[in-house]
Amino acid sequence: MITKEKEQELIGRLREAVINYKPADAKKAAEEAIALDADAYTMTMEGLAGGMEVVSEKFDTHEYFVPETLLCAKALYAALDILKPHIKVQAGSVRGQVVLGVMQGDVHDLGKNIIKAIFEASGWTVHDLGRDVPLKRFVEEQMKTDSDIVMLSAMMTTSMVGIKKLIPMIKEKNPKVKIMIGGAPITDKTVSEYGADITADNAPNALKEAMKMLEALRKGTM
């Protein structure tokens, strides 16, 4: 049985490894946690997700930019890959499922990858379809997984247009599903014009908005 002190120490090391983008440290701390039979879920949420939260704050205050965030995500995955198989399904968890992908005709997936890291770190199940994804793949994947939210990324105005076609296709099959869109050309105006539910200007905000939507969905108020 692992002591409280040791648990706190490991959580702290995971957090620091993510914040200071040290994949080797993250990996080592995760391996140690598994060897000591620490709770993988607590490690993930308090260590990795906790660290990523700090990263988000640093991004918000312009201390970190894309490169640092991406490196933090790498450190996060180094640990998450080890912890994930040991996470027991949590009863009454409010974490949801998302389908995520970059629109057809667009191969820019940097933003999408950061979103994925932040969501996975927070315990969400992410069905990542990759980039240049044909429209009907999104519809099929949502049906197959019964995901709560479909998240669409577009980095070019030209690929963004596909979103307008896609949203009715998804909502026709499943009117309850929420659509979040994001990427450089997307604005609040796009959201209303295309019939999406929401956008967010960065990954941490995307997570906040997704949590809100999910809670509303679970409460049946949306």
């Binding site: 205050t61 312009h62 201390e63 970190y64 930019f65 894309v66 490169p67 640092e68 991406l70 490196l71 057809q104 005709g105 667009d106 191969v107 820019h108 997936d109 940097l110 990858n113 240049d132 070019m156 105005t157 030209t158 690929s159 963004m160 247009v161 050309p185 604005t187 609040d188 105006k189």
Partner: protein, 649 residues
């Protein structure tokens, strides 16, 4: 229902349908308002002031109430821009009644200082258009053969290569009058030794053509003597399509969002622009516009499609397939271009969706495929294109630099027009800045009014490099608040900024600053270029290049040390950095002067191997690393003495 709209200070007025946006009205009436973001309610550059009240002289009552309501999105942009009272964004505000609109200085497109000077070119003259003076035997009842056949026979005798000539319809219509007016002595203009495109009475020596470089931002035309190859006049202007969006993507999307008219609007606009250039250039040189017998054009692939009236939608999305690669020859008359109606418009071939005829122009001008040494050619415009290789092999790629390097997407960014800060120096000890302004001599001293309005592309690079050198920026691009200077501060929204020019030095009554977001935009743009260079080098399996050729009118203004300090390209000996000027435009001139070069252009356009950067597995990593100053890991030994030791070795 129609309403009156009046724009000040130009005083232009017109009637528009209810529901028209102010920006649409401005285009209709011919008032230039900036629309950098492509009407997405983002950039806030189209701010206009609505004048309230009854305007006797203009005979209208103008009111804020005569406009569509302000929504949250617009409100946010206005707040961010600290807009004064009664300001609205022209792009989204609809006209519901009579209004008088004042377009502030900062929102006007303004006359740009365009410098796309013609470079020196070496080419063996072999123009497609040639003029022949011939004397025809006069017809009589014994020899009543037709004018065309008579001319054809004479030309054949003159030059046996000209067999089975055809004649253009418009030239034919004028033929009988021309031969008689010239008393059977005429000058015949022949295209490609195959078709008669003009017959003029008497002996005409001059033979002129026009080579045009259509840039996303500027258009330059070179009126050229086809007999000597010399440039007679260079004429340039802003690309009038700027009104529909500043970059290629916003114009493609304009076509997509306005299905009925979008493409036609943009096509008409550029053709009108080409006609203006042709008219001005020929007028200044003392010719008639019809004296221009041929036009060659280079442009990027999107501009190419729009110019030809081809839907650019498909080349705008992956896999970025263009409608064709091969060069195109079309009669001016079919195009609506007012040079000689039978004159040919030759559009150079394109390499790929994002590497267009302008890049082919660079290649035939610089000829890296004829060189033994390894050339890295960077053409920096609104988009960045790279070519790497030598006579063995050439590869190319396109970097989504965006217009940030040219000053767009930058809070105080502007084009290279009077009032633009163009050079910057920062003292690393005092952290004080001094700068030069276009249209104003001497360096600023922090006291006198420099009439500065904004920062143009070359100065953006300068100022970022200087800020990094002075450690105002950390390696990761963050503004360093550990330093103490009244110029380093946070604005009321908490955004870090560096004051480049104090309010009293400007013509806009506000401090000109470089903020953290501006730095980020530059990091993205230069990261794209640098990672493009790296991936290309890797693709050819080499570590370095022998020669860096920087093309583009904007490229010529960049200080190469500053460019390397921010890490726009990998470390190299600065002696091997060569500015090749507006190589795309030079390529258009070369094509105008030589049909052999046109053939070569078609071959080379298909030989260059296009690399799609975003498909490289590690592109995101390389891109991210390249966003730092000058690079996260790479060292720059050639910047010894300029940068600190940690960046040098």
């Amino acid at each position: 229902m129609q309403h009156t709209i009046i724009f000040q200070p130009s005083g232009r007025r017109g009637l528009v349908e209810e529901g028209t946006t102010i920006l649409e009205a401005s285009r209709k009436i011919g008032v230039d308002i900036e629309a950098v973001c492509g009407e997405l309610i983002v950039c806030g550059k189209c701010r206009v002031k609505i004048m309230e009240g009854k305007f006797q002289k203009e005979d209208i009552t103008s009111s804020m109430k005569h406009l569509s309501e302000l929504d949250d999105k617009e409100q946010k942009v206005l707040v961010r821009k600290d807009a004064e009272e009664n300001m609205r964004l022209a792009c989204c505000t609809k006209i519901l009644g009579d209004v008088l609109v004042f377009v502030p200085e900062a929102s006007r497109t303004g006359k740009q200082v365009v410098s796309k000077a013609a470079g020196k070119i070496k080419v063996k003259l072999k123009p497609a258009v040639r003029k022949y003076y011939v004397e025809l035997p006069e017809p009589d009842l014994h020899d009543p053969v037709g004018d065309f056949e008579r001319l054809e026979e004479t030309l054949y005798k003159h030059n046996p290569k000209m067999k089975k000539l055809t004649i253009d319809y418009r030239a034919l219509q004028k033929l009988p009058d021309a031969v008689r007016k010239g008393d059977w002595k005429v000058t015949v203009t022949v295209w490609n030794d195959a078709e008669i495109i003009r017959v003029e009475p008497g002996r005409i020596a001059h033979n002129i053509g026009l080579a045009v470089d259509i840039g996303t931002t500027t258009v330059a035309g070179y009126l050229t003597d086809l007999n000597t190859g010399d440039v007679i006049i260079t004429e340039s202007m802003m690309n009038p399509q700027v009104r529909y969006g500043e970059d290629v993507m916003s114009r493609i999307s304009y076509c997509m969002f306005n299905e009925e008219t979008g493409l036609k609007d943009l096509q008409d606009t550029i053709i009108e622009g080409l006609n203006t250039i042709a008219k001005q250039a020929s007028f200044k040189a003392g010719f008639a516009i019809e004296d221009i017998s041929e036009m060659t054009l280079v442009c990027n692939t999107a501009m190419h499609h729009i110019l030809l009236g081809i839907n650019p939608e498909y080349m705008g999305v992956a896999p970025f397939t263009p409608a064709l690669h091969h060069s195109v020859d079309i009669k001016a008359e079919r195009f609506g271009i007012n040079i000689l109606p039978a004159g040919n418009i030759h559009v150079l071939p394109i390499e790929a969706g994002f590497v267009g005829a302008d890049n082919v122009g660079c290649l035939i001008a610089d000829k890296p495929h004829k060189r033994k040494e390894m050339t890295l050619l960077i053409d920096i415009g609104t988009n960045g294109e790279l070519v790497l290789g030598n006579k063995e092999k050439l590869i190319s790629c396109s970097c989504a630099t965006g217009p940030a390097l040219e000053g767009a997407q930058i809070e105080f960014g502007m084009r290279a027009a009077p009032g633009a800060i163009e050079r910057v120096k920062i003292d690393p000890k005092t952290l004080e800045a001094t700068y030069q302004v276009i249209g104003n001599t001497g360096w600023s001293d922090g006291e006198k009014n420099m009439q500065a309005k904004g920062i143009c592309g070359s100065a953006i690079i300068d100022v970022i490099a200087e800020m990094y050198r002075a450690r105002i920026l950390k390696k990761n691009g963050q503004v360093n608040h550990d330093l103490s200077s009244k110029r380093i501060r946070k604005n009321e929204k908490g955004l870090s900024e560096y004051v480049l020019a104090w309010s009293h030095e400007t013509a806009i009554d506000a401090d000109i600053v470089v903020n953290q977001k501006d730095v980020r935009a530059i990091q993205l743009a230069k990261g794209a270029l640098y990672s493009g260079c790296l991936i290309m080098l890797r693709r050819l399996g080499i570590k370095k290049f022998d020669r860096l050729a920087v093309a583009g009118a904007f490229g010529s203004h960049i200080d190469k040390v500053a460019a390397m300090v921010i890490g726009m390209f990998p470390d190299c000996d600065l002696k091997h950095v060569e500015y090749i000027g507006n190589a795309a435009g030079d390529g258009a001139r070369i094509a105008l002067l030589s049909t052999d070069e046109r053939k070569e252009a078609n071959i080379i356009a298909r030989k260059v191997e296009y690399v799609e950067l975003a498909l490289e597995d590690d592109f995101n990593d390389r891109f991210s690393e390249a966003m730092q100053f000058p690079h996260m890991f790479d060292k720059f030994p050639h910047l010894k003495g300029i940068l600190s030791d940690e960046d040098v070795a």
